[in-house]
């Protein structure tokens, strides 16, 4: 209990201090542990939700830049207070429940949508010492939380008693259920490479080399399937404005709509974070060890708190870059049709990810005895080879398709002249 302890591991210090305080108040130690854990959960959730408000601003600023506008710039410096104005507006708006809506299910759905995102933060390692729980099945937990999100959307779509909402929910569920498969398969690639399913373990094992260098294709497939899982453009058929107005949340107004919107943004950021954790080393900073920077034999010593903060900043930067890439895709790509969406998943992503998984599994065993650089080069080359073969197969099919379609595609005037 000294300044030194605090500097070495602030989170452990604070939790020990709180525990000691509560036991000092004559509380049984079991109850004190429960209260300390509840305070920890509350702190994490409050951080996530406050960060979400900031994300609203980020999203609006970035989309404005993509569309050659300025974005919010009236309230506060750079429009930073705009999200608070938005929240006040959403809260004081009239709350409408449509006639014939299933009231209980209608009101539970936005809460469940937000919960399905917030529970993801339980396994998110923000730094080597700041994480909710180091679950040994965290990778699967991610998929399970996605299942709850699917449920929330289907509940919202059905209970609104609106055909557009129901259609949006059907599309969204078809999207999420199909893209779950390449996502689960690519989640297994870091699992195989790190030999663990815990996200903290996966991050730790990327100390020597980030997995994006071992499996660039896996990273791409995971990114695509998480964009689809988020239901963002080009996979935003669930809220295609030109066809079904707003999709599953068409009937929601005020803060209930706000929950869907906030959970979508936080979801996108969280998946940016997962891309960072699984393939870009999470909180790993190059050359940073537990006691400071190591450049060969030259060592810059840092206290524990400095290392933890640096790691947290590194994680946030990586997650923000991931989030930015998701926005980049969203605001540059047109929407695809539902048959294209399903064909792209089942005929392209799923077989490709399965081939990639088998290759990774076999190569990891074959190359496990070799030094790291041979292992890395072998894995990278295998990914390149699979990518090249895929492109060649695609080219072959595209040529054949074009040859089959050519006679039909001729304009009528050309056909008449013959």
């Amino acid at each position: 209990m000294s300044l030194q302890d605090f500097l070495a591991d602030p989170i452990l210090f604070i939790s020990n201090w709180l525990q000691g305080l509560l036991v000092g108040w004559k509380l049984p130690s079991g109850l004190a542990t429960v209260i300390v854990f509840l305070i920890g959960i509350l702190a994490l959730v409050i951080f996530a939700m406050l960060f979400d408000i900031f994300l609203v601003w980020v999203e609006r600023k970035v989309v404005a830049r993509f569309q050659d506008r300025l974005g919010p710039n009236r309230i506060g410096p750079f429009g930073l207070i705009q999200p608070f104005a938005d929240i006040i507006k959403l809260v004081i708006k009239e709350d409408i429940t449509p006639d014939g809506a299933d009231k209980v299910v209608y009101n539970i759905a936005p809460v469940l949508a937000a919960v399905s995102v917030i529970i993801l933060w339980a396994v998110l390692p923000l730094s080597s010492k700041i994480f909710g729980v180091d679950l040994n099945v965290a990778v699967l937990y991610l998929v399970a939380a996605g299942a709850l999100g699917t449920l929330a959307i289907i509940m919202a779509g059905w209970s609104s008693n609106n055909k557009y909402a129901l259609l949006g929910a059907y599309r969204m569920v078809a999207n999420m259920v199909s893209y779950e498969i390449p996502m689960v398969v690519t989640l297994l690639i870091p699992t195989i490479l790190a030999d663990t399913m815990s996200l903290n373990g996966i991050t730790q094992s990327q100390e020597t080399i980030w997995y994006v260098f071992l499996s660039p294709l896996g990273m791409l497939i995971f990114l695509i399937s998480s964009i689809a899982e988020l239901g963002r453009s080009p996979f935003d058929l669930n809220e295609a404005e030109s066809e079904i107005v707003a999709g599953f949340h068409i009937e929601y107004s005020g803060m209930k709509f706000g929950w869907f919107y906030a959970s979508e943004l936080l979801h996108a950021f969280t998946f940016g974070g997962f891309v960072g954790i699984l393939f870009f080393g999470g909180w790993q900073v190059p050359f940073l060890m537990a006691d400071g920077f190591h450049f060969g034999s030259f060592v810059v010593a840092l206290p524990g708190i400095g290392v933890i903060l640096l790691q947290a900043v590194a994680f946030m930067v990586k997650a923000m870059i991931g989030y930015w890439v998701i926005m980049w895709v969203k605001y540059s790509m047109p929407r695809i049709r539902i048959d294209q969406m399903l064909a792209f998943n089942w005929k392209f992503l799923t077989p490709l990810s399965l081939v990639l998984l088998s290759a990774t599994a076999v190569l990891t065993k074959l190359l496990s005895g070799f030094p790291l650089w041979i292992f890395g080069v072998g894995m990278f080359l295998s990914n390149l080879l699979i990518g090249w073969i895929t492109i060649e197969i695609l080219r072959f099919y595209a040529h054949r398709q074009r040859r089959l379609e050519e006679p039909l595609a001729q304009p009528a005037s050309v056909a008449a002249r013959r």
Binding site: V34, L135, L140, A144, A147, L151
Partner: protein, 170 residues
């Protein structure tokens, strides 16, 4: 009371009440949603028993796949979601009596087990239950045969579904 026990009783109450509503609710979608609540309670029970893997798989498979399939099937096949007509058969007391008898028998059997009042030993440090489960599923001395047989069963179902759904070219 131990915190685990409090969570267990809350969970057991959730499972039983939801299971009851699955049967008595007249709206089929509500019945399916109550089923989700019951399945979620079972997942919490698994988590309480330190079976993290089973808890997560319970949510992924039962809530993420099967319950959503139920919801879809009900929404797409029924014009009227509500169920009309009597909910009880005239001879309802026969299954009730049978159920009570089976419950009594199970309770008796469980309490007749030796060591029923002992608490489970903690998992020793350095043992990863997930790793042990994974090894057991693929080792010849473990459960590799049932594991493979069930995967062949699933593959057969997959092929069957493709065969049913395929449109024959004329």
């Amino acid at each position: 009371m131990h915190p685990d026990q409090i969570i267990f009783f809350l969970c057991a109450a959730l499972i039983l009440i939801s299971a009851l509503f699955v049967v008595i609710s007249r709206n089929l979608i509500h019945a399916a949603l109550w089923l989700v609540a019951a399945l979620f309670g079972v997942a919490v029970l698994f988590a309480l028993l330190n079976a993290n893997f089973l808890a997560v798989v319970q949510v992924v498979v039962y809530i993420g796949a099967i319950a959503i399939l139920f919801l879809f099937a009900v929404m797409l096949t029924r014009k009227d979601i509500r169920d009309r007509g009597p909910q009880m058969r005239r001879s309802w007391w026969i299954p009730a009596l049978l159920g009570l008898l089976i419950l009594a028998g199970l309770v008796y059997l469980i309490f007749a087990q030796p060591g029923i009042d002992r608490t489970a030993a903690a998992i020793p440090a350095g043992v990863d239950p997930l790793r042990a489960l994974g090894k057991a599923l693929v080792s010849p001395g473990g459960y590799v045969l049932p594991f493979e047989v069930s995967s062949i069963l699933l593959l057969a179902a997959l092929v069957g579904a493709v065969y049913v759904a395929i449109t024959k070219k004329s």
